[in-house]
Symmetry: C2
Subunit: 333 residues, 2 copies
């Protein structure tokens, strides 16, 4: 069952069938409907490989993420997949884990699969050491690379970003305005967005004349119980804090559990702000105030940008979206 069968049955050449397939305008309406009818009748679907061979493209975008089970990335994957399909593109997914080696390997793999572009979901793809990002810059010469929530300078590299710095700056400022003076900052990783979040926090403190205490800036695995235990430990050590600003809701949930365990009252005695406004935010009592990083908008932007690139439009290499602060019950404001 191939293009020849269709052409034979329709009494036209394979070139005409191919033109119908590709929506060429140089086909008479009569022939077009005839060919479409025959295709339908035979249940014909063009062979993707032959098509890819001829066209050099396969209407497929490679999506890479470090871990699809992370709620933030899971949502990103969902919106990306849906959005791309709306433009007639398929997605091929790669979960790379966090090792640079495997990232490079899967990068190469997707590249060799002839995807039309690569989307890197999440901030974990950009390494601290610039040389480690060279492979991305190299690949971008041959196909567009889109970063969702990450930034890298380079030809043919585009970024859709959330303004994380302003978000944490704003959140920390609100905490200070509501009376908090000892704000703990909890983060999971030193990614691009992680660094921005941290500096937003630091700037807010500076701006209000508060000291930046190193022991208030704590790294913690992305894990409810780890966060709780970390805070318990600080508490036991006698470190005083009256608020937690977390780089992820998971950690903020841990902070709620810490408060429950120690009997501190939220938000009177202890305030909490999470990040990502995920489903975790409404699991706790009281419910989390959280920064919404607007994954959906980020993904939409990334896809719009990509389609612009495909159409040869002039497109900004970097789009930044403002975060939302969703007020719930763990803050006084």
């Amino acid at each position: 069952m191939n293009i020849y069968d269709v052409s034979r049955k329709a009494g036209v050449s394979i070139a005409t069938v191919s033109r119908v397939l590709n929506g060429s305008p140089n086909v008479s309406e009569r022939t077009r409907t005839l060919v479409l009818e025959v295709m339908d009748e035979l249940g014909y679907t063009p062979n993707v490989f032959a098509r890819g061979l001829g066209l050099g493209t396969i209407q497929t975008i490679g999506i890479m993420c470090s871990d699809s089970s992370d709620p933030y990335l899971a949502h990103a994957i969902y919106y990306l997949e849906q959005g791309l399909r709306g433009y007639g593109y398929d997605s091929i997914l790669c979960c790379t884990g966090s090792s640079l080696k495997t990232k490079q390997k899967y990068f190469e793999l997707l590249h060799s699969k002839k995807v039309d572009a690569l989307i890197l979901a999440g901030s974990k793809f950009i390494e601290m050491n610039p040389a480690d990002n060279d492979y991305i810059i190299q690949t971008a010469r041959e196909l567009p690379v889109l970063l969702v929530n990450g930034y890298l300078e380079g030809e043919n590299i585009y970024s859709a970003l959330c303004d994380d710095r302003s978000a944490t700056h704003n959140a920390a400022s609100k905490l200070i305005a509501s009376g908090c003076r000892n704000i703990l900052y909890l983060y999971t990783s030193q990614s691009y967005s992680g660094r921005n979040k941290l500096s937003g926090y630091q700037d807010a403190l500076k701006g209000h004349g508060l000291p930046i205490r190193e022991d208030y800036i704590c790294q913690c695995p992305k894990n409810v119980l780890a966060a709780r235990d970390l805070l318990m430990q600080l508490h036991r050590k006698g470190v005083f804090f009256d608020a937690v600003l977390a780089s992820d809701d998971t950690l903020a949930v841990g902070a709620v559990k810490y408060a429950h365990a120690t009997g501190r009252s939220i938000p009177d005695d202890f305030s909490i702000i999470g990040y990502n406004n995920s489903a975790y935010a409404v699991c706790t009592d009281p419910e989390l105030t959280s920064i919404d990083s607007r994954v959906e908008a980020l993904c939409t932007t990334a896809i719009t940008t990509l389609m612009g690139v495909f159409n040869g439009a002039s497109v900004p290499s970097r789009t930044t979206i403002a975060a939302d602060l969703i007020k719930r019950e763990t803050t006084k404001f």
Copy 2:
């Protein structure tokens, strides 16, 4: 840059290069290393389309799920993707939503992409009306279909299942043994596994001589707040219950919030059991007792089965795995 460039530079025919590419034994060791060296030197990667055209396969499995942002499915996707890659297969992901129309459309789409098999993740693919599953049975004639947590009878269709009925039977029995007599059952959907979970609950009640009350069996959106509000409403109506068995942790979290809102004490006065043992289970205080449906094992089984099918091994069309009951703080036992 193609196979001809390699053959020219290595001074052999393209057939020989192709043989090296495909690991044919009929190549002398000397020629093989020579060709591999040349490939490496030129940075050659074979064109997937041409390869697919010739071979008719592309080492890619289609994964379908209703919604990749659901934590259960997100984990499944992760394990499937990782596992398949271990066998040298890529995954192409489709999120179908829940409408039958789109499911069928994407099914057809993946089929036309010439994937080597289809994995349907989650129980949402099997419709109540048998005729609505015909498209799956049809497709299975041409390529293997694997169901993760779903069951459908048919040639070339394989299922990896969790024994949901025994799981809820066991959970409900434990609740009864610990003194609960009015166990509410909360569920989200009437899927294959949903029906099994329900009947496990019902059988346990029957087995202990308890009445099965229709008003104790409640459908609810998969959503923390919806579950809480539903329970609040029943409470206000004066419906008495001393335990909740939920078909998903999300609903169980809602039950915890209901208890907080009404001041009922867990587990003395009110017990809760969730399902899936997801990250939500440790978010609440007290932490959820939950049934672990063992996604990872399910995915591993599915992949092993699939590889068996590819190798022509005789493989069971249905594998069932026992669930684990993870005891935490919302039950007396």
